[in-house]
C-alpha cells in the first residue's frame, strides 16, 4: 500500500522546494474509529505501547478510567472517557480513542522550523522524523488537536505514527490489529468513508439521528476519522474540536510574515548599501576641526 520512503514525501517541514515525489502514486489511507462500537477496553492503547516499545511512567489513580490522564511523549494514543446526559436524561458513556488525526493539511508540519523533521507521505500519513527534530515545540502550537508532546529527556516531539512502519509492509496499525470489536478499521480512505456511511445509516436507523462522519474539511480532511453518534457536537467526546483549523495566528506567523520579514530585512540592508554608494559617508572636514578649535580657544581665553 505504501513505500513510506524519502521518495514519496508530499509535504516536508521547513522546505521551500518540492519534496521528492516520484513514487507518490499511492492510495490515500485512513483509520476509521467507530466510537459507537468501542467498549473502552484499551487494547489499542496496550497494542500501541507494545508495538512501538513505549513505556510511560506509571502514575497514580486519578479517579477516572482515563489512564494516564493525558497523551505524552510515550503515550501516543489514549482512551478518553466522557459522561454525557442526553436530552432524555439518560447517561451516555462516550469513549473516544484520542491521538494524531493525520490531517491532510497538518498544522504541525506548517509550524515546524526544522527541515524534514515532519513529513507527510503520499498515502497521507504524517510522520515525525525525530533525528531532525530540534525540540522547539512549534508543532504543539501548530496542531489544532493538541496532540504532539515534547519529551523532557531528549527534547524531541512525539505522536502517533499511524504505525507507518507496519503500513509500509502492508500491515494494519497495531491498534487496529488489537481491537476486539472492530471499532478501529484501516484501509483506503475511500473504503473507510464508504464503510462509515453504512455504519452511520445503521446508527440513524437505531435513533441516532445526528450520527455522522468526523473528517473535518477545515484541515483538508483527516486520515484518522471517527464515526460519531453525535456528529453535530464533536466536543461532547472529551473536547474533540467542533471546527478544527490551524489557528489564524499560526497562519499569519508561518504564512505572510515569513517571506515579508526576510525581504524587509534584506531590503533594509540593500537600502543602506545604496545610501552609502549614492549619498555616501558623512565625514568631518578640516573646516569643522578648525571651527571647533576656534571655539575652544575662545572659551579658554574667556576663562583665563
Amino acid at each position: 500500500m505504501s513505500d513510506l520512503q524519502s521518495q514519496d514525501y508530499v509535504r516536508r517541514s521547513a522546505t521551500t522546494m518540492t519534496p521528492p515525489a516520484a513514487r507518490s502514486h499511492e492510495d490515500q489511507v485512513a483509520k476509521l474509529i467507530d466510537v459507537s462500537r468501542c467498549i473502552g477496553c484499551k487494547a489499542c492503547q496496550s497494542a500501541c505501547m507494545e508495538w512501538n516499545d513505549l513505556r510511560p511512567e506509571i502514575g497514580h489513580f486519578e479517579g477516572s478510567y482515563e489512564n494516564p490522564m493525558d497523551l505524552g511523549p510515550s503515550v501516543w494514543t489514549l482512551m478518553k472517557f466522557a459522561e454525557y446526559e442526553n436530552e432524555q436524561g439518560n447517561l451516555e458513556w462516550l469513549i473516544r480513542k484520542d491521538g494524531c488525526m493525520h490531517c491532510e493539511d497538518p498544522g504541525c508540519l506548517k509550524a515546524c522550523p526544522a527541515p524534514g523533521a515532519i513529513v507527510q507521505y503520499a498515502n497521507g500519513i504524517v510522520d515525525f522524523i525525530s533525528d531532525k527534530c530540534i525540540g522547539c515545540g512549534y508543532c504543539v502550537k501548530g496542531c489544532p488537536f493538541d496532540i504532539p508532546r515534547i519529551s523532557k529527556t531528549d527534547h524531541k516531539s512525539y505522536k502517533c505514527t499511524l504505525c507507518s512502519d507496519r503500513v509500509s509492509v502492508g500491515l494494519e496499525p497495531a491498534c487496529v490489529k488489537a481491537c476486539p470489536t472492530g471499532a478501529i478499521m484501516f484501509g483506503s480512505k475511500t473504503d473507510m468513508t464508504n464503510w462509515a456511511g453504512e455504519r452511520i445509516e445503521d446508527l440513524k436507523s437505531r435513533g441516532f439521528e445526528k450520527a455522522g462522519l468526523y473528517d473535518p474539511p477545515e484541515v483538508g480532511g483527516t486520515h484518522v476519522m471517527y464515526v460519531l453518534h453525535h456528529a453535530d457536537k464533536p466536543s461532547l467526546y472529551s473536547g474533540l474540536p467542533d471546527k478544527p483549523r490551524i489557528s489564524p495566528v499560526v497562519e499569519v506567523w508561518k504564512g505572510i510574515l515569513k517571506p515579508l520579514a526576510v525581504i524587509g530585512i534584506a531590503m533594509a540592508a540593500v537600502g543602506a548599501f545604496f545610501h552609502w554608494t549614492t549619498i555616501g559617508p558623512n565625514e568631518v572636514t578640516d573646516e569643522d576641526e578648525a571651527e571647533a578649535a576656534r571655539v575652544l580657544r575662545e572659551k579658554e581665553e574667556e576663562s583665563t
Binding site: 530540534i134 515545540g137 515569513k258 545610501h275 552609502w276 571651527e291 571655539v295 575652544l296
Partner: protein
C-alpha cells in the same frame, strides 16, 4: 591606546564594554533566532552546533541580553531623554539623510535617531523577553495555554523583526557617520566631529571646560 591630544571622550570604558557585550549577544540572538524563523536561514543553526543547540542556546542568550540591556539603560537613559531639539531635527530628516548638514539644526549629545534606537530597544527587549519565556518549551512549555503561546510566538517574531530593522539602521548609521565606530571602539571623537554632528553637546563640553584644546586627557 593612542588618542589625539584634543580627543573628546564620548563613551567610557564601561559604556563600551557593556555595548559590545550587548552587540555580541544581539548578533548571537539574531543568528540563532533567524535559523528557527525561515527555512532558507536554517543553515545558521550550524553555527551553534545544529538545530537542537541553536534552540537550546537562544533563550539563554536572551536572558543575558536582558541583563546587559539593563546596564545600557542605566548608563544611557539620561542622554536619550527627549528634548525640544528632537522635533526640529526630525523635521529636517530629509537633509540629515542627504548629508545636507547646513540645514540640520544643532543638537545635543544624541540626535532623535539615536534616541529612537535606544527607546525602541528598551521597549522591544522586554517584549521579546516576556514572549520568549512563554515559548521557552523546556521550562515554560506547560506554564501557559497553547493559544497564549501561539500569540506569544507571533509577537516574539514581530518584535524580533522590528529589533533587527532597528539594528540594521543603527549599524549603518554608525558606518555612515564616519568615526562613530571609533567612538564606540576606542571611546573618543575629535572636537571637529562633536562640532559637526552634536554641536550643542560640543558647546556644553566647551563651556564646562571638560574638553581642552591642548591638555591631553587620560583615557577614563
Amino acid at each position: 591606546m593612542t588618542r589625539p591630544a584634543n580627543a573628546i571622550t564620548r563613551y567610557t570604558t564601561l559604556n563600551r564594554v557593556n555595548h559590545w557585550i550587548n552587540a555580541g549577544l544581539f548578533i548571537l540572538l539574531v543568528l540563532s533566532g533567524l535559523s528557527m524563523f525561515h527555512p532558507i536561514l536554517f543553515f545558521l543553526s550550524g553555527l551553534f552546533g545544529g538545530g537542537q543547540w541553536a534552540r537550546a542556546a537562544h533563550p539563554w542568550f536572551g536572558v543575558l541580553l536582558v541583563i546587559s540591556w539593563i546596564g545600557m539603560i542605566i548608563q544611557f537613559w539620561r542622554a536619550n531623554l527627549p528634548s525640544k531639539d528632537d522635533i526640529a531635527w526630525s523635521k529636517a530628516i530629509v537633509h540629515v539623510v542627504a548629508n545636507d548638514d547646513e540645514h540640520v539644526p544643532p543638537i545635543g549629545r544624541n540626535n532623535s535617531g539615536q534616541k529612537l534606537v535606544f527607546w525602541s530597544m528598551t521597549l522591544l527587549i522586554p517584549v521579546l523577553f516576556v514572549t520568549g519565556l512563554l515559548i521557552w518549551e523546556v521550562y515554560f512549555g506547560e506554564a501557559t495555554s497553547i493559544p497564549v503561546q501561539r500569540v506569544a510566538v507571533l509577537i516574539h517574531s514581530l518584535a524580533a523583526i522590528s529589533a533587527i530593522l532597528v539594528w540594521v539602521v543603527h549599524v549603518y548609521a554608525a558606518i555612515w557617520i564616519r568615526d562613530s565606530v571609533r567612538s564606540m571602539t576606542q571611546g573618543y571623537v575629535t572636537p571637529g566631529w562633536a562640532w559637526h554632528h552634536h554641536r550643542k553637546w560640543f558647546y556644553q563640553l566647551a563651556a564646562s571646560r571638560r574638553v581642552s584644546k591642548t591638555t591631553p586627557r587620560k583615557n577614563p
